[in-house]
Symmetry: C4
Subunit: 217 residues, 4 copies
């Protein structure tokens, strides 16, 4: 099967999950606004904005990397469909721990539980992403002609390091929930600059390094 | 008409229904978390996670099979559009019985009613799927050249066995709601490995069995 | 501009509006279920199921007709984009009067107000649909080669009759809300069998009537 | 990378954000309807309808302009993906200030805060749009052959004037929230007729002005 429809379906799930995040931002009630004004009531909700922003970045960057991954794919088979579903399960779940963290980021002991659930979801997502890549590279016929599965797998190894960090954030959750969320923002930025798109090419087809104009300023 | 836009619309409905499921996962209120901590309050919601997971699997697998079905389709006409709408009606309904079962899975006598509503929705979905396949195979011009409608229909017969199981789960609902939900998970796994993609081909175009590399490990 | 992306965006809005309807179906609270059981509490919500079903049919059928309309379109310009946005505005609004009618269908005098709001939304949708068709047929270059704008417009006239009925349902709302909703279901069925797809062709390209195999059984 | 999938993902986010707006329209409770009837209770919610309509127009018009922008694009690179994500962040946020303004448009001093948050979101969106255009025109290889980046940038300058107006609406918010919302409606209408689609072409490929039939009546 061609990868067109799996991409369309995945784009749909990514787009919905990223847009549903806005439903987690609560409008303060009239009672909350009455004491101190709406401005202060809104400012009081900063954990929700922080969690919203980090989760938006995370889903956005998974989408970009998913996009880059499927650019290398020629065909998909059933195991790929199911590995992709497993990744979408973790992505579509993200609004739940986001809401949890919005509500409990400043809630003392419970903030640790909320941050750990958030971190565990990220770890599950990172593992599902790695599993999808393994499923795709297990059969060279699924890939575009110019991809070398062996170097792709070594690329994965470097890429998979993120999962060790995700695992570490579960531990960090029990020290400080806000710092944990900030680390997730940093990990998202790290993945912005990952090198997946330029590695994994067969030596002979490796294109020369792109000009400076192609890089972020 | 070509099947491109019907696939895009269906993908949209599948993607939204599968992603809306996450809205059913409720964040425990501060009051609920106060007694015993957030961890225990979250653990207390296991029926919601169980129902979420099963419904995600069900919608995901219907999507995979819908995808495989439309790979065999060349053209669609109005009856196909309406048969497809009937299937989408049942799919888009799934978040409702899922929420019902999340709320009532451990609620004694009411758990049976909730499980029966869930099972009836699955039965309606299975019947709508079979009706769509019948509508597609009633006219050979709608199918790709290499599909044999006669063997496709016998394939449907084997495929339709699932509906007998769905019917049985309605009865089972009145014995035990949790077991019923587990059976739905098992049925979803059964459909993961269904043979629709390889049957229904005309004898001369039947491709040789795929190599082990194509199968899930 | 080609019509590809306007179709993709419209498909998205249709798919989301039709799937959001399920959020209107409320799970009875434990208190409601306590008196008489969950079965009775669910049965008590029949107006919500009725309104859900009719609105699903309405959106589904507008989508089918939108699909058939854009099959005749070759290019779109800015006025078409905005006429299409006006139609999408009315479509994406439908979940609101549906929720209103679910809540107030059996509420005496208020049921008339709710039904009138529902009917007015349908009228706005019908008018927006006609306006979009007028915008598309005002310039022959926007249409596929084999479409005759003159006969297309006479087709619209016949098609536009539905709007007179929608207007009448506003009056009917003040007599009986349930009957009004049933009439909307009947109008949706009427549009299922509308003849837009086969009219509007230039005489020389008019295809012979399709075989019985193409019609619903 | 080709721009196909970035357009599909963006269309998804636009379609979902524009359709989620309807969830902000609240059905009056039975208690609210009891005093004065449902009609009056609905009329009382006019700020929600007003905010809904303006936000729908805004998102619809950004979509049209996004569509026109990507019609000029041949390839996208990573910086474009991230600039586009920043725009989608602001677009997917719009339902939140819309809900805020629906609730607080007539709330005295708090109405100013709500209008300022709404205006600030629009300013962020306008800046993100300009940044995306700058990112696209920084490398001529990303654009279709007939686009002249230099004149495109001067076009942007004229286009960017809207951001000055958005900045001014933040100030206006502290005078009158309803007038501010009306100005946003006017700005949306201004962007309806913006000239981006016809500017930016290289002199030799500039097409002659379109016939009257192409303009809105």
């Amino acid at each position: 099967m061609s990868s067109r429809r799996i991409e369309a379906f995945s784009d749909g799930v990514f787009a919905i999950a990223i847009t549903l995040l806005v439903l987690e931002l609560a409008v303060p009630s009239r009672e909350e606004a009455a004491e101190g004004g709406l401005g202060r009531a809104l400012a009081h909700e900063w954990p929700a904005y922080f969690a919203y922003l980090v989760s938006f970045m995370v889903i956005g960057i998974i989408w970009v990397n998913h996009h880059a991954m499927f650019d290398k794919v020629r065909l998909v088979d059933r195991p790929v469909l199911f590995a992709n579903l497993a990744l979408l399960l973790t992505v579509s779940l993200i609004p739940f721990p986001t809401r949890l963290l919005s509500e409990y980021l400043t809630a003392g002991a419970d903030s640790h539980v909320a941050a750990a659930v958030y971190s565990a979801t990220m770890l599950a997502m990172g593992l599902a992403y790695a599993a999808l890549w393994l499923t795709l590279t297990r059969d060279v016929r699924l890939l575009q002609d110019d991809i070398d599965p062996r170097s792709s797998r070594s690329a994965l190894r470097r890429f998979g390091i993120g999962n060790v960090f995700y695992l570490a954030t579960i531990g960090l959750s029990f020290l400080n929930a806000s710092v944990t969320l900030a680390v997730h923002a940093a990990l998202a930025l790290y993945y912005c600059f990952d090198q997946l798109p330029t590695i994994g090419l067969r030596p002979e087809s490796r294109t020369p390094p792109k000009s400076a104009a192609d890089r972020p300023a």
